[in-house]
């Protein structure tokens, strides 16, 4: 499994939804990260004069969004709907699959027309975060415990800088830690 495919909606979910909906296409926000021209181009190819009642464009929104005080929704989401308005695709055709357990609320702020609401499925189950091939049933093995805690910090985040400074003096006998500071 490569990193690109794990951003996608799980096959089992897509298969389930296709029992009811005619899935015109499936997009991932991560495919258009900050490239809104490309996103608009893609959405234009999906624009139809008329959609059937069960037609859906499946949209995966897995990566984090930007939030700032002047705006009460995520920036990528706001930009996405700005493009949708420009292209004039009916909103009921959009079906979001997301691990943002608040996206439904955000979308309601952007889509006020009750009869033309996008669908939103909020779920943990993403290949990115969940092992679709199953988890191995491990033994609890309390006798193997030699340290109180573990803390791994990989990609650079400001809260991890802060945490690093707060735990750096804890003894290696108590805490197993790593800080790799990756940018990718």
């Amino acid at each position: 499994m490569n990193m690109k495919t794990i951003f996608k909606i799980p096959v089992a979910v897509e298969q389930l939804l296709s029992k009811k909906y005619n899935l015109i296409d499936a997009l991932a926000f991560t495919d258009f990260y900050n490239d809104y021209d490309q996103l608009k181009e893609k959405l234009l190819t999906l624009k139809q004069e008329k959609y059937d009642i069960n037609d859906r464009i499946l949209i995966s929104h897995t990566d984090t969004d930007f939030y700032f005080k002047q705006c009460n929704v995520g920036l990528h989401l706001l930009n996405f709907f700005t493009i949708i308005d420009q292209i004039d695709i009916p909103r009921y055709v959009l079906l979001f699959y997301t691990n943002h357990f608040g996206l439904g609320t955000e979308i309601k702020k952007l889509c006020k027309e009750e009869k033309d609401q996008p669908g939103v499925i909020e779920s943990f189950v993403y290949d990115l975060h969940y092992n679709p091939e199953g988890y191995k049933d491990v033994d609890i093995s309390l006798d193997k415990i030699s340290h109180q805690a573990l803390c791994m910090m990989n990609m650079i985040r400001s809260h991890r800088y802060a945490l690093y400074h707060q735990i750096k003096d804890i003894s290696d006998d108590n805490l197993i830690a790593s800080y790799t500071g990756n940018h990718q």
């Binding site: 499994m1 009811k20 357990f101 990115l128 573990l150 809260h159 945490l163 790593s178």
Partner: protein, 180 residues
């Protein structure tokens, strides 16, 4: 597309609350990794479950985001359940609450989990750090005894995780009136 707002991708994960405070600069952070941690970051062999978890009692999860409007849960949090370990989450508020709604159990009688309700990110951060220090100063015997008496929770969390996809599929089917 003048009406679209763009941001610098380099800043995509920097929570604004910490920007500009003395401990946020990268120059005073040295990369390090305890030799007990095996595999590479994002390695598929250790991404969801890792053998070295057997050496620890509590996973201090530094989730992807801290200053965020709602819980954002990733494999970092779920890995503690996969490895049958306790967890403290440095993340968005409501993370534990969301886990509870999915059927996961946490450990409030050992770890003060009130940090999960703190909306202010800096106050939540401080509360998490307090718990980290408290756990690191707790004797291994105390932690092991606690875990022994709560084995059922670890097993239950593992099963909840294992069945999560099926549970979610059933939920989606129900909400969208899909026969399966």
């Amino acid at each position: 597309m003048n009406s679209l707002i763009k941001v610098d991708p380099a800043n995509r994960y920097n929570d604004c609350v910490f920007n500009g405070t003395p401990f946020t600069t990268s120059t005073d952070v040295k990369n390090f990794r305890n030799s007990m941690i095996t595999g590479e970051p994002n390695d598929m062999d250790t991404r969801y479950q890792a053998n070295f978890y057997s050496s620890i009692a509590v996973d201090i999860v530094s989730e992807t985001v801290l200053d965020y409007p709602y819980a954002y849960i990733t494999e970092k949090t779920l890995r503690a359940f996969a490895c049958k370990r306790m967890l403290i989450v440095l993340g968005a508020p409501g993370t534990l609450k969301l886990l509870h709604t999915m059927g996961f159990q946490t450990f409030p009688d050992l770890i003060d989990e009130t940090y999960d309700d703190i909306q202010d990110p800096l106050k939540r951060f401080k509360s998490v750090v307090n718990e980290v220090h408290k756990i690191c100063n707790t004797s291994l015997n105390v932690l092991k005894t606690y875990m022994q008496t709560n084995v059922h929770k670890f097993e239950s969390n593992f099963l909840t995780l294992q069945n999560l996809q099926q549970t979610e599929l059933l939920k989606i089917a129900q909400e969208h009136s899909i026969k399966i």
